[in-house]
């Protein structure tokens, strides 16, 4: 079946603008994760969804970052008032915890550049 998809694949924005990044998980996967990959910080966890709720949002770096998930499927990560340090690759992953499987499958990422 189809893997995790993310859109847009690339996004260039100006400092201070808001951006929305979208993730479509593998069909049937109940868990969804957002990570950020940057040169200075490596791969960092941002937030985890189980269904539509987010039991762990401990990795969100500031209140400018928020995420939601609707219908137990698509998720949107929103960054408000973007800063240059937000430039990174934002990766989404999903897993099927219903099968007690902890493997996370990753999408191709959204490359965000804040000018």
């Amino acid at each position: 079946g189809a893997g995790v998809s993310q859109s847009p694949s690339n996004k260039v924005t100006e400092k201070g603008k808001d951006v929305e990044l979208r993730c479509d998980p593998i069909s049937g996967h109940t868990a969804l994760y957002w990570y950020r990959q940057s040169l200075g910080q490596g791969l960092e966890f941002l937030i985890y969804f189980q269904g539509n709720s987010a039991p762990d949002k401990s990795g969100l770096p500031s209140d400018r970052f928020s995420a939601e998930r609707t219908g137990g499927s698509v998720s949107t990560l929103t960054i408000q008032r973007t800063q240059q340090e937000d430039s990174a690759v934002y990766l989404c992953a999903s897993s099927n915890r219903a099968l007690n499987s902890e493997t996370q499958y990753f999408g191709p990422g959204t490359r965000l550049l804040v000018l």
């Binding site: 994760y33 966890f45 897993s95």
Partner: protein, 114 residues
């Protein structure tokens, strides 16, 4: 807090040579361990994983890894490297009940000389 160490930032091997990438973790609970590979401009692809049982696990593309609890290690190996194996390799850890967020190592960039 959990942490993962990949001590080698860059490794260069000749095509056909054997490969070992090191990974050490610091974790209180029983870990779930993973190796992912990332080619330039791509997402992360799962190579293999260890949950329990046999400590030597086989993965895709001819890779294997061995879990050694006494050394807190999960090293990745391949007996004969191909030029197409050039990529960045990430070791990651999580545990059941912790929301399964992955903690990643800093990655090892593999270069293969022809």
């Amino acid at each position: 807090a959990q942490s993962v160490t990949q001590p080698d930032i860059h490794i260069t091997v000749s095509e056909g040579a054997s490969l070992e990438l090191r990974c050490n973790y610091s974790y209180g609970a029983t870990p779930y361990l993973f190796w992912y590979v990332q080619s330039p401009g791509q997402g992360l692809q799962l190579l293999l994983k260890y949950f329990s049982g046999d400590t030597l696990v086989q993965g895709i593309k001819g890779f294997e890894a061995e879990f050694k609890r006494s050394q807190s290690s999960f090293n990745l190996r391949k007996p004969s490297v191909h030029w197409s194996d050039a990529a960045e390799y990430f070791c990651a850890v999580t545990f059941t009940g912790g929301g399964n967020k992955l903690t990643f190592g800093t990655g090892t960039q593999l270069k293969v000389e022809l």
